[in-house]
Homo-oligomer: 181 residues x 2
């Protein structure tokens, strides 16, 4: 759980990153930026800020903001209610992102897992995404990603997003965000 | 059919608009920008320039560029191969777009249909989209759109795109682009 102050500060930072990336959002979107700490209360190292543009039964589009070296922890998207799991494309808009997927482990990877949680990071094939570069992940594919030293803004194009169904490697993670009253 | 020179010039203009909108594309994407004149050879009035980021069985994402007052003509997306038709969200990134959908006709609409083709424009409920504003269209919904005097850049998030299945009101339209040899 994060405090109201942490939440407000993260929202403001995310707005600043979107501005830097030249991405215009409405005042309503700015006020509803999601701050995900994955229940760990280590937002600087494990976390993600999101603007959800649309999420219908079939299509979802979001902007993701990652602060410098912030990590979206390892997870995958299983089938839900008889439908194949979520398929997603990450397109880097600003900054640099290191995405990890199954495959041959990359020697000297650019990302470092959050301290103390190294055992919950198992896929190590690195995809480097710079502005304009993208990668498509099919359902059931374990993945995690971390921003470089400047942070990053990433567009996500996907099928319906059902965050509550994601399966994380780290058993301490709770995806649903909670902010202290 | 458009000439090679028209095609090259439209691609270059589209690149300039994307740059102005702060959208980074790769050299490969820049070289493969689609120029659609809908078979009418009136690209300035009826046309669209597209960068297709991804188009899988389930998800599609594109950037659309419209030159000043350029119009994407009226059409809808029917069911294909037993699947519901294409669902799409248009999000304005730069400039101004006038989108028309079924509903009460808007008095004094901002757009003017391409000259001589007025009879092929039947839906007149206007949605004004400025940067950061968006609208979601469900399948089978007739729609058309036109950029304002400065042109526009619009992101499209959708289910699979099958342009060849689109149904246009204007019987003279051919969606598949053809460039003279």
């Amino acid at each position: 759980m994060i405090t109201r102050e942490q939440f407000a500060s993260a929202q403001q930072q995310a707005r600043d990153y979107l501005l830097r990336a030249g991405i215009v959002i409405t005042p309503e979107e700015a006020a509803s930026i999601e701050v995900a700490d994955f229940g760990l209360n280590e937002l600087d190292s494990t976390g993600l800020e999101l603007v959800v543009y649309v999420n219908t039964d079939r299509v979802c589009a979001k902007e993701l903001v990652l602060f410098p070296r912030q990590t979206c922890p390892e997870h995958y998207h299983p089938p839900v209610a008889g439908e194949p799991g979520k398929e997603e494309t990450f397109r880097c808009r600003w900054g640099e992102v290191y995405l990890y997927v199954p495959g041959e482990a990359t020697p000297d990877p650019r990302a470092r897992p959050p301290r103390g949680r190294e055992q919950t990071y198992n896929v190590w094939h690195e995809i480097l995404l710079r502005p304009g570069e993208q990668y498509t992940l099919m359902p059931n594919t374990p993945h995690w990603f971390q921003a470089g030293d400047e942070g990053a803004v990433v567009s996500e194009f996907s099928t319906r997003s059902r965050d509550e169904s994601d399966i994380f490697t780290d058993p301490q993670i709770q995806r649903a965000p909670r902010v202290a009253e």
